[in-house]
Symmetry: C2
Subunit: 199 residues, 2 copies
């Protein structure tokens, strides 16, 4: 999950950890709160040993000190991570292999959705429908509670269920709209200059 998010961001441009976290927070802020360094740095290391990312600047002419640890000033400096060719493949693989874990968690869905512009239409539809199914299940659960056991709950619990039910209904409607758009081919149009077409 974090792996997908990191690869996706580094796919756009190389970055160091701090910046990565900021982008992660704003880009995924709608569905998850913030990424902790306690997950970020270990994951970065793992991605590095797996060969998906590498330390240092991209092929754009590296400076002289490209030796052991080419930290920009010789002191403990910022470490820039760049995605590798294998990493890009891995990213596409993760994007397409969207299993149930994609629908189950808010965060999982949010991350995948955030990269929908780089996901193929069939996978987009699959994810949206899977997500809708999950949310509908949650919605039904809450409806049952409200209709069958309402008298056994205190007012606050009831209110919590009502609020949750409302949120679920809204999300289902939102998903329904997105699904309709996908089927129409009315994919939300990127602003203007996005040469990314189906290759």
């Amino acid at each position: 999950m974090l792996e997908l998010a990191i690869l996706g961001l580094l796919h756009e441009s190389p970055m160091h950890g701090y910046e990565l976290r900021k982008q992660l927070t704003t880009k995924l802020g709608a569905f998850r709160a913030a990424i902790s360094y306690g997950s970020l740095y270990p994951t970065l290391r793992r991605l590095q040993t797996d060969g998906w990312i590498s330390e240092g600047a991209p092929p754009a002419g590296m400076p002289a000190s490209a030796d052991e640890v080419p930290l920009l000033t010789g002191k403990r400096g910022r470490v820039v991570y760049t995605i590798t060719a294998e990493g890009k493949e891995r990213f596409q693989e993760l994007l397409t292999a969207a299993g149930p874990e994609t629908y189950d968690s808010e965060a999982g869905f949010g991350v995948h959705f955030a990269f929908f512009a780089r996901t193929d239409p069939a996978t987009r539809l699959r994810i949206l429908e899977g997500r809708r199914r999950r949310v509908e299940e949650r919605r039904e659960g809450m409806r049952d509670v409200l209709s069958r056991a309402a008298e056994r709950l205190d007012a606050y619990t009831l209110e919590l269920q009502r609020h949750g039910l409302d949120a679920c209904e809204r999300e289902v409607r939102w998903l329904e709209e997105l699904i309709a758009n996908e089927r129409n081919g009315t994919t939300p149009q990127p602003p203007s200059a996005d040469p990314e077409r189906s290759s």
Copy 2:
């Protein structure tokens, strides 16, 4: 978090693990998905060693009614957990000591809210206002993204931000209503049992 939830449920009545999970899932289903046994059972064991809960039927000299889960016939049977007196104190303590972690996570807030009927009014207000502040912060973050960086984002990311913003605005309005009710003393009336004196 799980600790509070478990103590709260066992405060209502003794239960075994499976039932506990079901109740947890429906009662807190609005804000978190489902509790895993991989967290539930270890936590139960911890609560037991801490002395907050105990294994077996409640201490009230209940005669061994035939109904009383005597399935422990040498085989592996169901284990009923009962909250202890210390556990009840601990529960109240956790209820009142609602720090920032209470507002930060959906789950944390959901659990505290679910037990609002047993929380004193001052703490209720504090939690609701803390939560509102958090959600407002998230909302402002998303507004900034939408107003300042909209042109640099693809249509899907934009849509995600819009949806998130909408959800935040709704939650803030919901919280505002609840806060107003609290201040009015218009606390949602519990069914019939023992309502607080309406001042």
